[in-house]
Point group: C2
Chain length 251, copies 2
């Protein structure tokens, strides 16, 4: 049994607590959060650092800005203290004795269940035995557990902004462009599906199509005039420039 | 039986010819292309306009810039002359007697088979009876056949650039960002999959996450410094500004 305490009450904390409560070989000891919010029905909850019980791993699943402050309060604990952030170095945990990172590379949303079993869990620790505990813990949740250093994790986190956050926003803009002229967005769903399929089969470099790919300046100029608003135009320009440069063309 | 001739030898022409050859209730009469390329083994092919036989529908599946020129050569034909472009108005076909549009809203790549049966086919014609013939033809290929005017089709085409071409390029950039620090791009595949799933379940407005969504200026500044090259930075800025403005924030 690995004894685990989760700190925080946000999306990552909630999803991790739920998954750990269901995991074999894990005893979820406590949840700590400042407001004393009850994350799970049976889970002992505290808002006082002085009431923290001993555990093998303390998962600090709080906002990036709060990690250092929470770590200051965990100087005395004997277990591994691992934060769960993609962007933050392990070094912010220097106040604690056994720092680590336990970063699940996934997008979590309140109330939306996520199967963690294929989610990559990116681990880091300063001591080999601490890494080993985190690996054991990771494997109770997922078959995809990886030792990734802070520099690489930060890069993954940045890449995730492009492939997840920005992709999602492109779909929002697509909806807006459709609504602007009363066209049903749903007409584009087969195209989106095929785009994702081609990505898998051919890879994105070969799969690229569109006006910027064929250096079709007439169509690009027409699109820029057609677009409603500066933000859309700036995105269109920046994306098209990047595609043109990728394939050796210049506007 | 609807008699159809396909003009052109590019991606759209090839995919349409193949699908029409397999369709019930369609007789594929000829393919025309300037170089006399044989698109399909059994298909009569010509490079001379004077050799064109009569047909119910002539599908002009050539590059956007060549449509007007081809239409000039089809003044004498009795069938409906429909181009297959998303961006071009029906008005460029004014030289012909019975102009129309037959636009399959999909991304076509040479050598990559596409099932057309759920692909939206966007139709337009000036005369009701011509629209009817195009609808009959469309239904031999797909269950998703729509009457869409030139303005709306142009808008769909623009939206398709955002959700297909730009999304694909974001995935290319994601790969580059990973390679830059020797991280395996494959670690992001579960995230991409979940992003697409959330889109379907919640819609993009609600599904949005990331530093720009929570107005996390520290992370955005750090990401901009971390990005290698001006194109990536410009895309990051343009996308982040648009997300900030969508949710009522200002940098």
């Amino acid at each position: 049994m690995i004894k685990v305490t989760v700190l925080g009450a946000g999306n990552v904390a909630s999803h991790l607590a739920k998954a750990l409560a269901d995991a074999n070989q894990v005893e979820l000891v406590q949840n700590f959060n400042r407001k004393g919010i009850q994350l799970l029905p049976q889970l002992p909850t505290t808002s006082q650092y002085s009431e923290l019980l001993e555990a093998d791993v303390f998962l600090v699943a709080v906002g990036d800005n709060a990690i250092t402050e929470v770590a200051q309060q965990l100087k005395q604990v004997k277990g591994v203290v691992a934060h769960t952030s993609g962007a933050i170095s392990i070094n912010v945990l220097q106040a604690v004795e056994r720092p680590g990172v336990f970063y699940p590379l996934q997008t979590f949303t309140k109330g939306m269940p996520v199967a963690l079993d294929t989610v990559p869990i990116c681990l880091e620790a300063n001591a080999a035995q601490d890494l080993e505990i985190l690996q054991k813990l990771g494997k109770t949740l997922s078959s995809s557990v990886h030792h990734i250093n802070s520099l690489q994790r930060r890069q993954l986190h940045l890449a995730a902004v492009f492939c997840s956050n920005f992709t999602n926003h492109l779909m929002y803009l697509t909806q807006q462009i459709c609504e602007d002229k009363g066209v049903a967005y749903e007409l584009l769903l087969p195209l989106i599906k095929e785009t994702m399929h081609k990505l898998e089969v051919m890879g994105p470099f070969t799969a690229q199509t569109g006006p910027a790919r064929r250096n079709d300046t007439d169509t690009m100029q027409a699109h820029l005039q057609q677009l409603n608003g500066r933000d859309l135009q700036e995105i269109y320009k920046a994306m098209s420039h990047s595609i043109l440069h990728t394939y050796g063309n210049e506007l």
